[in-house]
């Protein structure tokens, strides 16, 4: 790898500040590449200030979460449909387990031999 290739690789991994300015100033190709890398990095850094618009229900859901968290019940407030689906599956499983347990108790009582 030539010195210029090494410089250009560093430009794209570490940024323009990480290469010797003396070389960049004296080499047209590396200077141009340094400018390109600097432009890309500056543009990407500028993206941080630009934001998406969250769904309207998200902020109230998060505030409700904080309110419940004070009572140690943060998990209960997750309102996203996927969480609700998970909660419904969990509730159904709990109900099935309770029914099975009740059935087992009844069955055992009926199976118990009569004591005179």
């Amino acid at each position: 790898m030539s010195y210029c290739e090494e410089i250009q690789r560093t430009l794209w991994t570490e940024g323009p500040d990480a290469v010797p300015a003396s070389h960049v100033d004296s080499c047209d190709i590396c200077r141009q590449e340094a400018r390109r890398a600097g432009d890309v990095l500056a543009a990407l850094s500028g993206m941080r200030a630009r934001m998406a618009t969250p769904p309207t229900g998200l902020e109230p859901a998060l505030l409700e979460l904080a309110s419940r968290a004070r009572r140690g019940r943060a998990r209960e407030v997750v309102t996203h449909p996927k969480f609700l689906k998970g909660a419904a599956v969990g509730a159904a499983a709990a109900a099935a387990a309770a029914t099975a347990a009740f059935g087992l108790i009844v069955a055992r009582r009926h199976a118990r031999p009569e004591v005179a």
Partner: protein, 189 residues
């Protein structure tokens, strides 16, 4: 993020209004990061909620109150990466939602730049996940190479390799869309 160390301390001390303000002042940035990583609004909203549950649970133990934004970004990034690993084989509809500058210098300059920013956002969105995640965490959100590696479960060396390829891909895409990004023209102009 509109969050001060005093606000974080007040929330740690159990002030309910401070906690609400902390969430209101930070959730948009957190959601935006999640959307940039996951590319789908439903998944991003879900990850944001999970991130705030984790934040609320561990806020009292958090010591570097001045670094709340970075901490919050790490939490949501971890949530997103865990989810993305689970869903790697699933097709997820990709959002094309526009990002906006909440405080543009003026309407005219915002309009002029909008095309560029939308193209850039689209170019990042189209990167393969391995490249997109390093660019989002390292270049957009300013995490160090080590922090980025921690979140992604890769070495700092691997972060560098991915960054190198991702940045050059972006540069090539932008040069295709905007001739002034091609480089040579500006040298001779």
């Amino acid at each position: 993020m509109d969050v001060t160390p005093e606000l974080v301390r007040a929330a740690q001390d159990g002030d309910p209004a401070a906690m609400e303000e902390l969430i209101a002042g930070s959730y948009r940035a957190v959601y935006t990061l999640a959307l940039r990583l996951m590319r789908n609004p439903d998944d991003a909203a879900e990850a944001t909620q999970e991130a705030y549950i984790r934040m609320v649970r561990s806020l009292k133990r958090f010591r570097e109150v001045g670094a709340f934004p970075t901490w919050m970004f790490k939490i949501v990034s971890n949530v997103c990466m865990t989810e993305m690993k689970k869903r790697s084989k699933r097709d997820v509809p990709i959002s094309t939602e526009a990002m906006v500058d909440p405080s543009p210098a003026d309407a005219e300059s915002d309009a002029v730049g909008r095309v560029f920013w939308e193209e850039l956002e689209g170019s990042v969105r189209r990167l393969p996940e391995v490249y997109r995640s390093v660019v989002v965490l390292r270049d957009i959100y300013g995490m160090s190479g080590e922090e980025t590696g921690d979140v992604l479960g890769i070495s700092p060396g691997a972060v560098k390799v991915r960054l190198h390829r991702a940045r050059k891909r972006l540069r090539d895409e932008l040069a295709g869309q905007f001739p002034e990004w091609a480089g040579d023209e500006r040298e001779t102009a």
